[in-house]
């Protein structure tokens, strides 16, 4: 099958774009300086730019076109492009209505990657990540994250198997989907081994029921798998938003840092690291949907719109997943590992 490489850069904003600003950006004003801040970077605006950005920031909700905003604030479209383009390049601004304008596989692919990167940033700006990365997470939260993530990884045997079962495309595409599943099917063992090496009995780990919020994520993935190949494939673009392989050194450094902050969980983070390196080796950053875009199979406008809806809903479910871990395991009474309810006989 002939393959061509579509451009993966995000389409530029247009006058008819409806920009959405990352809802997790912190804002502050000091005199005539207005600042937007993430965990890792900040953007400062002065003077007229500060005035405009401060007003704009309240209105960038994905529901108003740039040309309308420009009229509202008495500025040119270009003034707004100048402010938003640098943020867009950092995946902090989403063109919320791009999918209706995407023309062809190339445009879809580039804009879809930008969509996934935007929501990935939103997920990783949630309070759970701020706490964990600062080193302030409690023991149960860290271990609970490992346990719930193990459930999620094992759920590949639910939603990825369903993705194969409901792939009504041709055998070539179904083999891509099947191979992806086969490569992930037994990865939960890596995480179970990691938790066992943290000092827990394997039987207790295997019997621990997932949190309701973990099941919510898994069930959402199960339901998405039934929708068809494009919708199903879309989920992996959010899970792996980088189109280039992450450098092994960067992976080791990231998990090494976490091991240093939470030494009791080092075996667990070793498992995370091992899994991430396996994914790099298997080239899982080359997502199913990018392969579909490079193939002669066309993605219909309805499938494209469905893929975007799936990614936006999946982002919410990942937020729920991490929030649930913090909420449950952050309580002093939280049990780790959790115990399932059992039928009790009469004594």
């Amino acid at each position: 099958m002939p393959e061509h490489q579509p451009s993966m850069s995000a389409p530029t904003l247009l006058a008819t774009s409806r920009p959405l600003l990352n809802p997790m950006l912190e804002m502050s004003a000091n005199g005539d300086v207005f600042t937007l801040e993430t965990r890792d970077a900040e953007w400062s605006y002065k003077g007229d730019s500060a005035t405009l950005m401060r007003q704009l920031a309240q209105r960038l909700r994905g529901d108003t076109e740039i040309t309308v905003l420009a009229r509202e604030f008495g500025v040119s479209d270009q003034s707004i492009f100048n402010l938003l383009t640098p943020l867009r390049e950092e995946n902090l601004v989403l063109d919320a209505n791009w999918v209706g304008r995407a023309d062809g596989a190339d445009q879809f692919a580039g804009a879809f990657v930008a969509e996934c990167r935007f929501w990935s940033q939103v997920i990783y700006a949630q309070p759970f990540w701020n706490t964990v990365l600062s080193g302030a997470a409690g023991r149960n939260v860290v271990l609970g994250w490992g346990m719930e993530f193990t459930h999620f990884v094992d759920a590949a045997n639910e939603y990825m198997a369903a993705g194969v079962a409901y792939c009504r495309d041709n055998p070539t595409i179904r083999e891509w989907v099947a191979r992806h599943y086969v490569e992930e099917a037994d990865h939960a063992v890596i995480f179970l081994n990691g938790l066992e090496n943290c000092g827990f009995e394997r039987r207790q780990l295997l019997n621990a029921p997932p949190l309701a919020t973990t099941r919510a994520l898994i069930n959402f993935l199960n339901e998405t798998a039934i929708l068809g190949t494009v919708a199903y494939s879309a989920v992996f673009s959010l899970m792996q938003p980088s189109v280039e392989p992450v450098a092994p050194g960067a992976i080791k450094q990231f998990y090494g840092q976490l091991s240093g902050q939470y030494p009791f969980a080092k075996p667990m983070f070793d498992a995370y690291c091992r899994h991430a390196l396996i994914d790099v080796e298997l080239e899982h950053e080359q997502t199913l949907i990018s392969r579909l875009c490079r193939s002669p199979r066309s993605i219909t406008p309805q499938e494209a719109a469905s893929a975007v809806r799936v990614v936006r809903a999946l982002a919410e479910h990942f937020i729920v997943f991490f929030e649930g871990i913090a909420d449950y395991y952050g309580c002093s009474d939280a049990q780790f590992p959790r115990r399932a309810v059992k039928y009790a006989a009469a004594p």
Partner: protein, 348 residues
């Protein structure tokens, strides 16, 4: 007869229930449930803690590893004391893989009131009742209720489609026929609040609502008994007519400025459900399958408890989201979910 011998003879499998909080604290081991606490002093707390976490309903006492510092005699004495205190329960032995499904239904009825109290202890229910929930939270709750009630079409249909037992299936079919159009009650309430049908259809359910529906769909695909246990818990939450009447009266006072047009359809809905007599649904289903495996009973109970946890998340989701967002989204705009509240952030 020595306690250890009697346990071995009975073959029952001791387990620490899922709702017991077990912890090491202040140099001892504590077991707590609701307002009951048991403290085990003396011995090596870490070893006692480890021993108790291994009491998981899969092994007899003589099969469980007992740390040398605890010893067999102490282990059996401790176990019996915890059984007497209802902190350790007994699962049927491996030689008794089947149980009477009527007993399973009775177990559910015994456990559900405790789970119901836990669920309705959530702050959302208290705040709706005392009027401290905002108007957006009330409308949001009503909107999510609409999606949940309408969602019977996509959850109960799954258990019917996957149920191969004709006797059980006929009860689900009857129940579905009595429920599938009840969303119209909630639409009437929403319209009384000024929402159009198009606006309601355009608002996708929150992840919490989707989670409840998807959990029940998952149960429906897995085992009709799992679905039935969940359904029975849901029915039990609405079974207390007096409490429901009081709750609706409170909502009427706090949120209904349309002389009852908003709340009365929900009261009518509860009345209709009562007329249908769904209260004995689980018992009717169990009657179709006189004996079930213990493992199946365990799975069904866990499914119902997961539903309780999911409903707690549902309440949390409504409370958190509608505290900062309007129930009515702009058409086609992505939902702002758990974003920072913009206006409040900017420090001049």
């Amino acid at each position: 007869m020595a306690i250890e011998e009697s346990h071995a003879k009975s073959r029952k499998l001791p387990f620490l229930p899922s709702d017991i909080c077990l912890r090491e604290a202040n140099g001892c081991v504590e077991l707590a449930r609701d307002d009951i606490e048991v403290k085990i002093r003396g011995g090596n707390p870490a070893d006692i803690h480890r021993f108790l976490t291994n009491i998981d309903g899969t092994r007899r006492l003589d099969e469980v590893f007992i740390p040398p510092s605890v010893g067999a005699q102490t282990a059996t004495t401790l176990l019996q004391q915890l059984i007497d205190a209802n902190m350790i329960l007994l699962a049927p032995g491996r030689e008794s893989p089947l149980l009477n499904s009527a007993d399973f239904a009775k177990t559910c009825r015994a456990i559900f009131p405790q789970w119901k109290r836990r669920l309705f202890g959530h702050s959302l229910w208290r705040r709706l009742a005392d009027g401290s929930a905002s108007r957006n939270q009330f409308i949001g709750w009503l909107l999510e209720n609409y999606h949940f009630i309408e969602g019977v079409t996509i959850r109960m249909s799954v258990v019917i489609a996957h149920c191969r037992h004709a006797g059980m299936r006929k009860h689900f079919v009857k129940h579905f026929a009595e429920e599938f159009d009840h969303h119209h009650f909630f639409m009437r309430s929403l319209k009384a609040l000024g929402l159009s049908e198009a606006e309601v259809f355009a608002q996708p359910p929150l992840p919490g609502t989707t989670a409840v529906l998807n959990h029940m769909r998952d149960c429906g695909r897995s085992d009709p008994l799992c679905y039935a246990a969940c359904s029975a818990f849901l029915e039990s939450t609405g079974a207390d007519r007096g409490a429901a009447k009081q709750f609706f009266a409170q909502l009427l006072g706090h949120y209904d400025n349309r002389g009852g047009e908003v709340i009365n359809p929900m009261i009518d809905h509860v009345g209709l459900d009562e007329d249908y007599g769904h209260a004995g649904f689980l018992e009717k289903l169990c009657n179709e399958v006189p004996h079930i495996e213990v493992s199946r009973a365990d799975a069904a109970l866990q499914a119902a408890l997961t539903l309780v946890e999911t409903l707690e998340f549902w309440a949390t989701d409504i409370e958190r989201h509608y505290a900062v967002q309007s129930p009515i989204m702009a058409p086609e705009a992505p939902r702002l979910y758990r974003g920072l509240q913009r206006g409040a952030q900017v420090n001049a």
